[in-house]
Amino acid sequence: MGIMDGLGEGFSVALDPTNILYVFLGVLIGTVIGVLPGLGPTATIALLLPITYELEPTSSVILLAGIYYGSMYGGTITSVLLRLPGEAASVVTVFDGHQMAMQGRAGPALGIAAVGSFIGGTLSVVGLILLAPPLADLAVQFGDPEYVALTAFGILLVTYLGTKHPVKALCMAALGLLLATIGRDLVTGTSRFTFDQVELFDGLDFVAVAMGLFGVGEILYNLEKTEKAEQIKSKVKNIWPSRRDFRDSSGAIARGSVLGFFLGVLPGGGGVISSLASYGMEKRRAKDPSRFGKGAIEGVAGPETANNASSTSAFVPLLTLGIPPNVVLALIYGALLIQGITPGPQLIDNNPEIFWGVIASMFIGNLMLLALNIPLVGFFVQLLRVRAGILAAFALLITMAGVFSVNNDVFDMWVVLVFGIIGWLMKKTGFEPGPLVLAFVLGAILEESFRRSMLLSGGEFSIFFTRPMSGTLFAVMALVVLYSSVMGIRRRRQRSQLPGVAEEELRATGLEAEPEGTAGVAATSGRTDGRADDDGVPGTGGGSTRAGGDRP
């Protein structure tokens, strides 16, 4: 199917009244939870997973994708107006966005973010259209050794990228891999760690684990904090940016789109990293870097564009290889599995309505977001008055009813509660659930592929290095490990003399001193609080290649 035919079919799917409704619902929910600190896209999608079970597969992905990129828009609003990132990927927007608001330029800050997000999102959809089909054709040739390489690479990158403590992240990834071994062994048929519970024969339910760790864990964590009414200090007016604003930020938007697209495709990439990388890049390129942190519009436009672009391109590995590159996509992967659809190289051929329908819905969704955001900023800000306690009780109720509805099984409700408590404890102790959940999902693919590779080769490990694709991937992996260790040592030496820029700035904005303020950040995936005071990668090293290719 050619691109035009595909897009034609896609739009006929996406323009179906029901699907238009789901795009709208998705971007609306996305914006709302983006605004609300304490509920990020990960938690929301985790909570809503069971509901999608009742929908058509295409509608459910359209809805969840809408929530994901919609939250990238919404997070900006609170970052700019309240110096409080609504979700993790908008942390850097705080630096210049809030400064602009203090100078009475909240309107243009929000306006340029919306326009940039729209451009980044749309360009990224175009990139997705061009890249995904050829990649899927290539991926059909992938055998088990390649999948071993890809999943291992993914787990490795996830534990390195965007985590504060690679060691803690590695522990969590290891725990995730162990949890993935529960259930019947695929090759021998023996039960592992099931303790004679029939409910455990198929392993833990991914939906229940994710809902527990992200959803319930999040809710419990947020309840601990004291509630504080938020006051909007600055008035929002003149949203549409001036011609000069556009001129200043056009370069940042262009670079942010490209950077975000590529960082989104990378395993472990996604909104947080691309916005940080874009900020670092803009600052490095600027003629006068000292303007950053004092209301430079490029510092808003670049990161906001990049995080939106990456939230779209993250669909590439999922829809072509069947490998989710980050936690949100892992949840969408779960949603497709619930529907009986295994994402993989054949998805584009077998379920063209899903692939092209979702792509077309992204065009529509981005357009809706642009239309929603500019006139409705004031309305969204009012949402901050909803008390966290009410929200939490409501969310918990939906969670428990939802998880029961997937398998009609009370056992899954217990799994949610147990993992909710684990998630809460992890959050309190600085362990991140992201690597755990991703390793849990990828672990199953990794193990099956590894076992089959061993059956194929008769137990010879050489199978991983003699095949060109998997050999290359393992070589790249070795380089990444080597490079990051060397850089790690070098950076540790520099650290004492030169604190990272991002760290400095975060401190300056007082985010670190105010744990409540970062709630929304910690809320999403727990990545940001880590990134925020990681030793200033975007600031010191900056640049696309650095943060993207070799930073891990």
């Binding site: 409910e199 295994t342 054949q346 398998n407 059956l455």
Partner: protein
């Protein structure tokens, strides 16, 4: 929630029974869902049909289609509920937890339903706990290679396998499925050794075959596989039925040198708890038989999958006994 759901119908049933017992004959005609008077005018209430597999799959399709037809036959609502997990054991347990009165049934997928209890683990039921009612669909397995494979037919394939033991890779769906067990028997009884690669479903196996990462697959010939054969992506080498089928152009394994290998045929049918009264079982059996005569039901199930000759409770039971006899020893290893 579950305790309530479980106990409430039981309590109602018990109280109806007690009323019936106390009130003598006059109470007997009451419209409740009790087991006592089920004999004469069954069914008088909603019937729950559990599907022990995920919604949207071939088992689900069979259950929902036959459920709709039973609704028309009986004039009672048939509630189809998916209780997936543990290769069907969870759904079977759900059915056995209810009263054996014919108001709770389950779909079974033989051989899986029959082999689950044979694997040396407690799955919550044995093959004596349920009574098969009738088969709805019958899906054979097909041994297939990719379009550009060097093996044009079964003879070439098995010749190559004989010359190079263990060199040919065959994808199978899981390791305790009938497909895997038939190929194990092929190694043990006929000395043809293939390397089995267990996958978890048709989609994965199809991808592996199309990508040239396995030499062949031994796969359930469900609709997706038939379309791949039709499109020329798959070349069928042999089918698992005792006799050839008209919709797959390949000889049975039994005719290419493996006369014993005829058991890898999935049969989806209905079952009830073992203590269900005989006349209730035969009412259901007759109803399924009538349904399988209806053109619209047959069309929905897939004409090729509906057994040519009706498989009622006795034939179904002896099929299960045969599977237990053949696969039991392999599974207990």
């Amino acid at each position: 929630m579950r305790p309530i759901r479980r106990t409430a119908p039981a309590l109602i049933a018990v109280s109806v029974l007690m009323l019936a017992a106390c009130g003598g004959d006059d109470e007997g005609g009451g419209g409740g869902g009790g087991g006592g008077e089920a004999a004469t005018d069954y069914p008088t209430d909603d019937i729950t049909l559990y599907v022990p597999y995920a919604a949207g799959g071939p088992t689900d399709l069979a259950a929902r289609t036959i459920g709709t037809c039973l609704e028309d036959e009986f004039g009672q609502t048939v509630i189809v509920e998916n209780r997936e997990g543990a290769s069907g054991s969870i759904g079977m347990q759900a059915m056995l937890a209810e009263d054996p009165d014919g108001y709770t049934l389950s779909l079974i997928a033989v051989p899986a339903s029959a082999t689950n209890p044979l694997q040396g683990e407690d799955v919550g039921y044995t093959n004596d706990d349920y009574v098969p009612i009738a088969a709805v669909t019958e899906i054979p397995s097909v041994l297939a290679v990719g379009a550009d494979s060097e093996y044009a037919d079964a003879e070439a394939f098995f010749e190559a396998a004989e010359e190079n033991p263990g060199q040919l890779n065959v994808g199978v769906p899981g390791t305790t499925t009938s497909q895997a067990m038939e190929l194990k028997r092929m190694a043990e009884e006929y000395d043809i050794e293939l390397t089995l690669l267990p996958f978890s479903g048709n989609a994965e196996m199809t991808a592996a075959l199309l990508g040239g990462n396995v030499d062949a697959v031994f796969i359930n010939s469900s609709q997706d596989v038939l379309s791949n054969i039709e499109a020329g992506e798959f070349t069928p080498l042999a089918v698992s039925t005792p006799e050839s089928v008209d919709y797959i152009d390949a000889p049975p394994l039994a005719e290419v040198g493996f006369p014993e290998l005829t058991n890898s045929v999935s049969v989806f049918g209905l079952a009830a708890p073992a203590e269900t009264p005989d006349d209730v079982v035969s009412t259901l059996e007759d109803a399924v038989s009538t349904c399988l005569e209806k053109p619209e039901t047959v069309e929905q199930l897939g004409e090729q999958y509906v057994p040519d000759e009706f498989i009622g409770t006795e034939a179904f039971r002896s099929r299960i006994d045969e599977i237990v006899e053949v696969y039991g020893p392999i599974l207990q290893d």
